[in-house]
Symmetry: C2
Subunit: 475 residues, 2 copies
Amino acid sequence: MPHVSDFQVREGFDRTKGSLSKQLAAQIRRQIEAGDMAPGDRIPATRQLAKDLGLSRGTVTTAVEILLAEGVLAARVGAGTFVASDASSSALLPSRKRAPKFEFVSRAIEPDIDQKTNSKVDFRPCRPSLETFPLNTWRRCVSQAASAVPDSDYGDPLGNVRLRDEVVSYLRRARGMQVDPDQIIITNGAVHAMYLLSNLCLDRGRSAVFEDPGYPLARQVFSRTGAEMLFAPIDENGMQLDRLDEARLPPGLVYVTPSHQFPVGSRLSLGRRAELVSWAEKHGALIVEDDYDGEFRFDVPPLTPLAAMAPHQVVYCGTFSKTMFPGLRIGFAVADKSIVNAMASLRGVAEYAPSEPLQLALSKFIGLGEYERHILRTRRLYAAKRNCVADLLHPQAKLTGLESGLSGLIELPATVSAAEISARLEGQEILIPDVKKYVVGEAKQRNALVCGYAEPTLKQIDQGLRAVNAELERF
Amino acid sequence: MPHVSDFQVREGFDRTKGSLSKQLAAQIRRQIEAGDMAPGDRIPATRQLAKDLGLSRGTVTTAVEILLAEGVLAARVGAGTFVASDASSSALLPSRKRAPKFEFVSRAIEPDIDQKTNSKVDFRPCRPSLETFPLNTWRRCVSQAASAVPDSDYGDPLGNVRLRDEVVSYLRRARGMQVDPDQIIITNGAVHAMYLLSNLCLDRGRSAVFEDPGYPLARQVFSRTGAEMLFAPIDENGMQLDRLDEARLPPGLVYVTPSHQFPVGSRLSLGRRAELVSWAEKHGALIVEDDYDGEFRFDVPPLTPLAAMAPHQVVYCGTFSKTMFPGLRIGFAVADKSIVNAMASLRGVAEYAPSEPLQLALSKFIGLGEYERHILRTRRLYAAKRNCVADLLHPQAKLTGLESGLSGLIELPATVSAAEISARLEGQEILIPDVKKYVVGEAKQRNALVCGYAEPTLKQIDQGLRAVNAELERF
């Protein structure tokens, strides 16, 4: 049995380095690790130890308590305190090993997400302007939502019912959709809806139809399931449907941006809408309608969403990323109850439910009418910006896809390379992506720049377009 | 070619039923659908139509524009407006079909989530009290966070760097962990971290070790991957390790609640910690350390997290659900950079990034020291509640697992049935779950109630415990 002398201090105590009791515990731990004390060895009384070490009794008692709690020491009633029998010395200190390489079962794919930059002019698509955002009203809504004592519950995987109610009213007013709150799930943005749907509808035994060019992150969401990917080319009437039956495997879902094809900007014609719906009905495939910027139309009346034509076959995905701001990460999906419930179950085992406070703030904001007022304001602003792009653009280039949405396509003559122009402008800190960034297959022959005109100010648009024109002049 | 007479109104217009132009467009659509008008048929001039129908010219023009935009009608310059050649009649109106039954590729599992109730006393575990929540300070933080103009970016899949910095400082102060911000990912609660990890580490070719009894939602997160599940029984030293090698398939991860086993309440002894780490290192398995209520300790000093012992082998999952409130849906995971980055990539293709405004509010709240002050306040409150439970409980029953956390175990004598007591109390609107709710395998012989004492007020605890005791008296 070890005597008090066995606890000789080997290292000094340093009051500037934090708690003395932790320092003492660490020293005892190291002595056990070094084999200086063995399992079953008795520890001297704290009073004695304190005296020997010149520390207060409280300090020693706390150190012993730490080691008791850690299981390094064990107490037996009436017998004292001992080095625990399972105080194996091997791992008492942090492992100094190098990080092992874990073999993940899924290949990690780098998500195709636009990084934050400090560019001078940023024409990358899907970026709203915050110039006219009613910040004070929003802050008031957020503050009001944070005024109620939160409750002890974890929330509803479908989302807060007040926000779902507001979305129902909004869809009725703005999109002519008649839906119930239990047909709505609040998502963490539109991509989240696609992610949940991809997990429900796709695997290695199914195929998915995607647009080409199309939204890269959505393509990744679907392709990561291992599904066979079929790419449908885009023309001025939206997605071409003549090759839908070329997939080898049964189709699980079709992804489409019918109001404003991303990034080309065309609208899916009604004829094709009807054809797509009957094809999906025939094959039992779900249509995922991504209405990512459908709130913004300029010279044309609204098109009824696909979801209003075939409510049982379509999941309508909406987002507040463009109408509010992307960092809010709130969107919603509308679908048949069975589908919405399956999405909610999946979300439940992934994260329980969406965050409450911002859902409440957003429902207040919509309820006050501020949401639609803000959309009207930004629609006017974006129309002005769109006109600015159209007025300034060099006549050699052709601007298309401007009827709605937050971006258009600058189609270039064959003598000019979109890739080169995009790269040179990036050198000048002007970001305007080559459409080929969004292309997978045959659409590679497209020669165009994607011009998101919502976020840059009118002055930046002027600056940016002058730079684009100067590059066009070089050819 | 149809004449004006072909556009006879078949249904009346009703100004109380919304826009007249929409009603007219719907009627024209129906007539095309009924075959009364065929592709290529010419539409009369809007002026004429307005006169014939007794509507304003603007109304008619808007109706025609709607149908043009839908592609039902087509305009040819100088020739007028026609029924479009692809205005297939089949799907112009919402499908009246019954909802088809989609065959989802994954079996939908109903997540095991505690539903919101209006019970009189709620002893269900994992529910914090909001009695001492500093609502005004929190609202101020939220309001300040909402005062800055949001930006046009989508955020970082790792989470806001200011919040990660605050978590780093907090972990250093409170848990003795030395980590960098790039070892942290902000998650949508702790379950979200487990979900991401389960997708990285588990599939049908791997096994997972889980605690029995254990946290049901986490079990679902792991088992939904199809991994072989191995259930390790719990004793007073936490998870038993002697059967870890019984899995048929190579282990992907081990889930453990070392600070306060859920729901039994024991702490994993240091000996077992060391053994678990070496086992995981040997098999290349990740340890998922769920520190779901580690902030709350009462009579014992803190135990170093597993993650501090073996930083490369462990993912430490923390949550603000218990220290703040569950509806916040913010948690974090700490791990080796390679693991955190793989988690971020996966989250990127699922939802881009977490919501910005609440991350900012929470980082302010922590930065002000309010978070730790609130933890101290609730720790005192919970200690009082715990003592209240211990004082009131019938001597026939034994209270264990109270050294830390927000819940304890009421172990019952063999003559008394936990299931019956729990059911009878539910009839009195007193929720106190039978431990078997959390049990999978052999732990079925346990006869105990799980008593979450954090959320109920002292008065409710008094009321609830009296009811528990009355039931105990009946046996």
